[in-house]
């Protein structure tokens, strides 16, 4: 039970870059990824902004190094791309040299292809190409990633709405702690689909001007797509292989708000509990957190609830805090792991990210988020929050080793 958990590789693809290098450039230039829809064929093309990965299936297939055979969902391709980067950075040449698992997360799975199927199937249930529906379930994208990387020892998928991939990181960490696996590729992937765009639109929580987390005038979230993966390894595996360590996972907490299926409790009870649990597992004091990468979706409800929970936990000394969703959009099942990768970069480079498009402090909160990119700040411990529908809240803490 005493194994420490180290991050040895990360991978990321989102609207602000196809890899870590491009992502870092965008972050340093405060260049957000939200814009007009050009990839998704929707009625709302000119009306609702999103954070798209500007690459089609042929380009993504090439990046993922898989055949463009019409058998991969967009979600799978995004996942394979980020997962490969993480494995490469971790310098794992032989995946079977240690007991390795994959825990991926997704909310829509292969919905991009299911939509194509359904369009025809709806009119006549003998229509619709079957190859478009076999990628529907969430497990499909995970198995595509596992097969591309030859991971066999443990394969699983988590779906807890917007906290899905934070939970993948949490469970992967615990599997190492429990001595079940030596290393786990953990993360999540979600493609933009008509299903999610219309879903959130029907809830009337998409900001037509792009999300403005923690702003008094905020008016909803902005959807994004992408994938983030982290290779995490046990201390003994890292030592045995003389690995370069990027950072350590020191804390994790999962709690349920149990308030409402889609709304968070006004006082942020679940958010408070997940952050508190993460601090407790890490053994850190609240004052030792140097940066909070907030869930900060930009909806009226989330930011108030999360803000109140942060105030309650951190009292009068709230650490620098920002939401990076104006950069990447809200990538749903991938959000927790994309933001985890950003946290790793923050620790490695001693960065703190700006909360883009913030103007006016919320009247109900005592604090404002960070608004300018900050270099050379001592960043030792970072907290990352991910909260989802159903009140599924998860917080993670990453620390410099």
């Amino acid at each position: 039970m005493s194994e420490r958990i180290f991050v040895t590789g990360v991978g990321i693809i989102s609207a602000i870059g196809f890899d870590c290098a491009e992502t870092s450039v965008a972050l340093q230039g405060s260049k957000g990824g939200i814009g007009r829809i050009t990839m998704l064929n929707t009625f709302y093309k000119d009306e609702i902004p999103v954070a798209e990965v500007k690459a089609g299936v042929p380009e993504l297939s090439a990046m993922a190094k898989v055949a463009e055979n019409g058998l991969f969902s967009r979600t799978s391709l995004l996942g394979i791309i980020a997962a490969r980067q993480a494995v490469m950075q971790a310098q794992i040449n032989d995946i079977s040299s240690a007991k390795t698992g994959l825990i991926s997360a997704t909310t829509v799975g292969g919905m991009d292809r299911s939509e194509r199927f359904y369009k025809y199937y709806m009119k006549n249930n003998m229509r619709g190409r079957l190859r478009d529906i076999i990628t529907h379930d969430c497990g499909d994208s995970t198995e595509s990633i596992a097969d591309a990387l030859d991971i066999k020892d443990h394969v699983s998928t988590i779906s807890t709405a917007c906290s899905s991939s934070a939970n993948a990181i949490l469970v992967g960490s615990r599997m190492i702690k429990n001595g079940i696996l030596d290393r786990v590729l953990v993360g999540g992937t979600d493609a933009l689909t008509l299903f999610t765009l219309n879903g959130f639109n029907s809830l009337m929580i998409l900001d037509k001007n792009g999300c403005r987390p923690f702003d008094e005038e905020r008016n909803g979230l902005t959807l994004g797509e992408g994938s983030g993966f982290l290779m995490i390894e046990s201390e003994s595996t890292v030592k045995k292989d003389h690995k370069t360590v990027l950072c350590e996972i020191t804390g994790y907490g999962n709690a349920c708000d149990a308030f409402h299926q889609t709304a968070s409790s006004p006082e942020g009870n679940g958010a408070y509990l997940s952050m508190k649990k993460a601090l407790d597992t890490s053994g850190l004091e609240p004052r030792m957190i140097d940066y909070i990468n907030a869930h900060g979706t930009g909806t009226k409800n989330n930011d108030l609830s999360e803000g109140k929970a942060i105030e309650r936990l951190f009292g009068s000394s709230i650490p620098p805090c920002s939401s990076t969703k104006p950069f990447t959009g809200h990538t749903l099942g991938a959000a927790g792991s994309i933001e985890a990768v950003l946290c790793v970069l923050a620790l490695r480079n001693q960065w703190i990210y700006p909360n883009l498009s913030f103007k006016q402090q919320m009247a109900d909160l005592s604090f404002s988020p960070v608004t300018a990119f900050q270099y050379n700040i001592p960043v030792r411990n970072v907290m990352s929050n991910s909260f989802g529908f159903g009140g599924n809240n998860t917080s993670l803490i990453f620390s410099r080793n």
Partner: protein
């Protein structure tokens, strides 16, 4: 890692929720290519106003969960963990359908909200006002298995004493029509109780919900113990299965001779059933072997139904004849091995022990 089963709530095509006794009279379905759950009276468990807004699988899930907790005498668990292959597929279909029908306009958000895979675990937490650990696994034939594994880890970590863990999948007209086109099911209708007699390809579609109250310690309510769970992804050969199973038995029970009862996930598809016959003849020819998918049908989380059966068999020390696929002398049932695979991709083994 281990877990004691303290309570059960099962909704299935059998009288598992309200019936008297354990499989006293098995439900026989004639001329079918799918079997569906016998649904309980929801009003006994859920406020009708609340139930009205819930989809079928959410209602079944919440009901089975509440019955399970009542059975175990637990008011509020320290964790709620679910596993589901396809989640709330009915609402997913509903929202997809209306999306195209209305050309993306004026959509009702309710099916979207309820389509999320974690809806059932969340609805239970909401009903119980349970703020503790909550997680949902969604991986084909590893969904329930992952949920169990997580539960056993939590118990070992000491961060939970009582956990509510469940597996669930629903069958809808569309999910049946689509999987039927994919060739999952038998072309001609069957009698479920004679599922293994048909030699043509395909299986019998099914569905079900099974919840278990798991505890880290044994008490007078303990029905059985889950001693080990292990998964095997895409085995390349029968030898790989044999090797893994052999290692699993060695680690958890000792030798194959220590297994008193075997439960195999045979689903009537001759190709998919091959591996079960291989396991039977290689390890367990002197052992009583049973099967169960003629009673629940085939679905992603069908192993949860097997776990229910194993628990009841251990509790009652009785193997209903309807389950037997060979006939061996009766002996005291201490160790039950469950071997299940989903489409030859996701293989799983469980050891259930009397306590």
């Amino acid at each position: 890692m281990e877990a004691y089963i303290q309570g059960i709530g099962v909704i299935s095509p059998q009288k598992t929720f309200t019936g008297n006794g354990f499989l006293q009279d098995a439900m026989e379905y004639n001329d079918v290519n799918y079997i569906k759950c016998l649904e309980p009276v929801y009003g006994d468990f859920i406020d009708p106003m609340v139930a009205r807004r819930m989809s079928r699988i959410v209602k079944m899930g919440v009901c089975a969960a509440l019955k399970c907790l009542r059975d175990a005498g637990i008011e509020n668990p320290d964790a709620i963990i679910t596993g589901t292959g396809l989640g709330c597929i009915e609402d997913t279909e509903k929202f997809l359908g209306s999306l195209y029908a209305s050309e993306e306009q004026l959509l009702n958000p309710t099916p979207f909200i309820q389509s999320t895979h974690n809806t059932i675990a969340a609805a239970i937490a909401l009903k119980l006002k349970c703020n503790s650990y909550n997680n949902t696994y969604v991986h084909r034939g590893f969904s329930f298995e992952s949920a169990l594994l997580d539960s056993m880890m939590l118990l070992q970590e000491g961060s939970a004493s009582n956990i509510l863990t469940g597996g669930m999948d629903e069958l809808t007209p569309n999910s049946f029509a689509i999987t039927n086109r994919l060739g999952f099911w038998k072309e001609k209708t069957v009698n479920n109780l004679r599922l293994l007699d048909y030699k043509n390809k395909g299986s019998l579609a099914g569905e079900g919900v099974a919840f278990f109250a798991l505890s880290h310690s044994k008490n007078d309510k303990s029905l059985a113990r889950i001693s080990a769970v292990s998964t095997l992804y895409k085995p390349q050969s029968a030898d790989e299965v044999t090797a893994r199973l052999s290692g699993f038995i060695q680690k958890s029970a000792g030798v194959a001779g220590d297994i008193d009862l075997v439960m195999l996930g045979m689903n009537g598809d001759p190709v998919q059933d091959k591996i079960y016959h291989h396991i039977m003849s290689n390890f367990f020819s002197p052992v009583q072997c049973t099967f169960y998918k003629h009673l629940c049908g085939e679905y992603d989380t069908a192993a949860s139904f097997a776990l229910y059966l194993a628990t009841m068999i251990i509790k009652e020390q009785r193997v209903p004849a309807i389950l037997k696929c060979n006939d061996r002398p009766v002996r005291k049932i201490k160790n039950v091995l469950i071997y299940n695979h989903f489409r030859n991709i996701n293989h799983a083994m469980f050891l259930i022990t009397s306590c």
